[in-house]
């Protein structure tokens, strides 16, 4: 069986919620490209994930076009991570947040020498933001500014 098509499902759902017809972003141009400048074993990697992960003590995300993000120290105790989201079944993420926020595997790959290191802070947000303009003009520039400030060599992005 081929991959599940999610675009029709999401369109239907927005229609049910009374939103105007959802116009999916389609980019027919050539994507931008920045080559990796050194081997992964020398790179410091950043991570941003949209599975709604937060740290116990942080304000949780809400479910209506939340464009905020949370900063998560990359040395956080995994037991302190929580998951909240409207668009996927949370039961696995709540017992093992690594399914949407692969922090333990990344730390292991640093110990093994596969990666040079990790940014001291990672970022999480909600996704499922109806307005692509708000993502392009607000969330994406704020996250990019952080990646530049953090001096990462590459960034892994994990949506849900």
């Amino acid at each position: 069986m081929g991959p599940v098509d999610y675009i029709p499902r999401i369109r239907d759902n927005y229609a049910r919620l009374g939103y105007k017809t959802y116009n999916w972003v389609v980019n027919a141009d050539t994507a931008p490209w920045a080559p990796l400048r050194k081997p992964l074993s020398q790179c410091r990697l950043g991570l941003a994930a949209s599975g709604g992960i937060y740290v116990a003590g942080q304000v949780a995300f809400h479910y209506k076009d939340d464009t905020s993000f949370r900063e998560i120290p990359s040395d956080i105790d995994t037991k302190e991570l929580r998951a909240t989201h409207f668009a996927y079944d949370l039961s696995d993420a709540r017992t093992d947040p690594n399914v949407v926020f692969p922090i333990d595997a990344l730390r292991r790959l640093v110990r093994e020498g596969f990666l040079g290191g990790l940014s001291s802070r990672f970022y999480t947000f909600m996704g499922g933001i109806y307005s692509s303009r708000r993502v392009s003009e607000d969330l994406a520039p704020r996250l990019t500014a952080r990646f530049l400030e953090d001096g990462v060599d590459a960034v892994l992005l994990v949506p849900v």
Binding site: Y6, I10, D12, W24, V25, N27, A28, D29, T30, A31, P32, A34, L36, R37, L40, L45, G51, V55, A56, G57, Q58, V59, A60, H62, D65, S68, E71, R82, A83, T84, F86, A87, D89, D92, A93, R94, T95, N98, V99, V100, F101, P102, D104, A105, L106, L109, G127, S132, V135, S136, A140, T144, D153, A154, V155, L156, L157, V158, P159, V160
Partner: protein, 128 residues
């Protein structure tokens, strides 16, 4: 997430998007992506299977060194199960999203209490 990838990449930062929604990612067209054909909520693997999670990441991250063309998508060589019953279920049930509340949705009440008391001191941007 593809929009974040394109923005960061345009600013000079190499990115890789993992994804379990191939149609969405192909439409948004990020610079590099790695497709894992798993049910939503498992973009980086199965719970409590650290060796599998590690193998998935190694396969995905290797794309940084092997991909040469913008818009490339690697199909990761992992299957959720021998049969593909989860897909039949995903097709049949459609979208099962929960209502869109605009107040914080905590995993548990203890989290709410801690956050309302001012949050963790180690968290400089609890609300940003």
């Amino acid at each position: 997430m593809g929009l974040v990838a394109r923005h960061a990449e345009a600013a000079g930062i190499p990115t890789l998007c993992m994804t379990s929604a191939r149609d969405i990612t192909l439409a948004v067209n990020p610079p590099r992506s790695a497709f894992l054909d798993f049910p939503l909520g498992h973009t980086a693997g199965k719970p409590h299977e650290p060796d599998l999670q590690r193998r998935i990441l190694v396969e995905a991250l290797s794309s940084f060194e092997t991909m040469t063309a913008p818009g490339s998508m690697k199909e990761l060589p992992f299957r959720w199960s021998e049969d593909e019953e989860w897909k039949a279920k995903a097709f049949a049930e459609g979208d099962d999203r929960t209502p869109r509340h605009d107040t914080p949705q905590y995993q548990n009440e203890e989290d709410r209490r801690r956050a309302e008391q001012g949050g963790s001191p180690s968290c400089p941007v609890c609300r940003s």
